[in-house]
């Protein structure tokens, strides 16, 4: 069934289809619509779930962890200040290997206070042990809502999953979305079965301490668990295509990169504008391409290197900055390409912070700059380190 939905609404529909047994809800702009829609679905009976309105984001994730420890499929959503408020719980969830799915509306982080979209919140938590995917459009958001549980709950993975939607730009914009039937969703996503939960018949200690000898081993296994997501993502996307007819391209989405000289590597919904610009440049004879990172954790090292093998120069366009160095996505991408021995010259473009607009002209300027060469770190609309004065 096709409906005209916002990114938030589409995501809520995806979660409804995933049949979470517990939804722990706390509002924050710009994700509130997700938990509001889920509450309406519980009210009208289209979603059978324990909807718990908690007192804070820290409680929202703690509640989700508790529910997951009881063996329930759980969901929560947050953004920005809320993500940081629940930050300690992120590590509890990942260390405890609870396959919670959380939607994060990418939003700037105070100070200064700002409710608009950028990627600083989620990118600051790359080390928290959560799988991180970035949706470009509302359809992908709905589909990721379903796929995330399939991937997270796989026994070899057992890792919580954060789905990121660009704040306002994706959460609040509307497009036609295909909503699958519950029957199709049930065929794709089985119910959650686990032994990582309380059990009256075989009592467990859960969420315990581990001393110096063993803590290290837990962390190694956690790292391996996240890496095990890579083949599971591939398998899940094949299964998804078989049921719903939509095939996703894995951890990265390449656009005209096979013969490209100049590529923009980016994440989230800005990729659409980048592809349009690449097309315009192609008409002028410049071999431009776009590479969208769908997953940042686990990081697609080999996939990136393979896709960028012939590239002369590339730009990483991201909506964050790791103050005192460069953008975090650039650090990851640069490392992947250098490890593979590629000599492509990389440039970092920071834009969109605090919801600032990125225009067609800005993207054309990026392609222009990487052809000519520019500073390592460029702030769109300001320039390099000397230009802000």
């Amino acid at each position: 069934m096709k409906k005209f939905l916002s990114g938030n609404e589409a995501f809520a529909e995806g979660i409804r289809l995933a049949r979470p047994q517990v939804v722990s809800a706390y509002p924050i702009t710009p994700q509130t619509v997700v938990v509001e829609k889920l509450s309406e679905m519980v009210e009208d009976g289209s979603l059978s779930s324990e909807f718990i309105h908690v007192e804070s984001e820290h409680s929202a994730l703690s509640c989700a962890i508790g529910a997951s420890a009881a063996g329930a499929r759980t969901f929560t959503a947050t953004s920005s200040q809320g993500l940081l408020y629940m930050a300690e719980c992120l590590y509890y969830a990942s260390g405890g290997r609870f396959p919670i799915v959380m939607m994060n509306a990418d939003r700037s982080v105070a100070l200064p206070w700002n409710i608009y979209g950028d990627q600083r919140d989620s990118l600051s938590q790359l080390d928290s042990g959560w799988i991180q995917a970035y949706a470009e459009n509302a359809q992908e958001a709905l589909d990721l809502a379903l796929m995330s549980y399939r991937i997270a709950e796989e026994r070899t993975v057992s890792t919580p999953f954060m789905v990121n939607l660009d704040g306002f730009v994706l959460t609040h914009t509307y497009e036609t979305v295909d909503i699958p039937s519950q029957e199709e969703a049930d065929r794709f996503l089985p119910s959650y079965e686990t032994d990582n939960c309380f059990d009256f018949d075989s009592p467990k200690n859960m969420a315990f301490s581990a001393g110096p000898e063993t803590n290290y081993i837990f962390k190694y296994k956690e790292h391996k668990g996240m890496l095990a997501a890579k083949p599971v993502i591939e398998k899940a996307e094949e299964e998804f295509a078989a049921v719903f007819g939509r095939k996703y391209p894995g951890l990265i989405e390449s656009y005209r990169t096979e013969d490209a000289d100049y590529v923009i590597v980016t994440l989230g919904s800005i990729a659409g504008l980048c592809r349009e610009t690449a097309d315009k440049l192609r008409e002028r004879g410049i071999r431009a391409g776009v590479l969208r990172l769908r997953y940042i954790r686990p990081f697609p090292n080999e996939e990136l290197a393979a896709a960028m093998a012939g590239v002369k120069a590339y730009a990483v366009l991201e909506k964050d900055i790791s103050f005192g160095n460069e953008g975090t996505v650039f650090t990851n991408v640069n490392s992947a390409l250098k490890k593979a021995g590629l000599t492509a010259k990389g440039y970092n473009f920071i834009g969109g912070l605090g919801g600032r607009n990125i225009s067609h002209a800005d993207i054309e300027d990026i392609f222009e700059k990487i052809q000519k060469g520019t500073e390592d770190v460029n702030f769109i609309g300001i320039g390099g380190l000397g230009d802000g004065k």
């Binding site: 405890g96 290997r97 990582n196 009592p203 467990k204 200690n205 859960m206 969420a207 081993i217 837990f218």
Partner: protein, 97 residues
């Protein structure tokens, strides 16, 4: 009820679980090593009033035929029992080496 004590287990790589979830009731050690002083009950003075049993924060005191007895595997030597004993039947002594 006395805690169920097992042999301390050294976990091999494969035995470390994938998640922080393990078979319950796994106490591997006594905590007698925490003490520097220990309570000693003078049975002659003990009247079996059960105050020490009630006040012990770790529940290591039991009353056996109207006399207080201390489980020295789990007594941490806090001295609350000696403090609360009205007949003065409990005194704290230095922990023997």
């Amino acid at each position: 009820m006395r805690p169920y004590v097992r042999e301390k287990k050294i976990f091999s790589f494969d035995e470390v679980p994938e998640n922080t979830c393990f078979e319950a009731g796994y106490l591997t050690t006594v905590n007698s090593g925490w003490r520097s002083i220990r309570p000693v009950v003078d049975a002659a003075k003990c009247v079996g009033c059960e105050q020490c049993y009630l006040y012990c924060p770790d529940g290591v005191i039991s009353i056996n035929e109207k006399k207080a007895e201390i489980d020295y595997d789990f007594c941490k030597g806090c001295g609350v029992c000696a403090k609360i004993c009205r007949p003065g039947a409990i005194r704290m002594e230095a922990e023997p080496k």
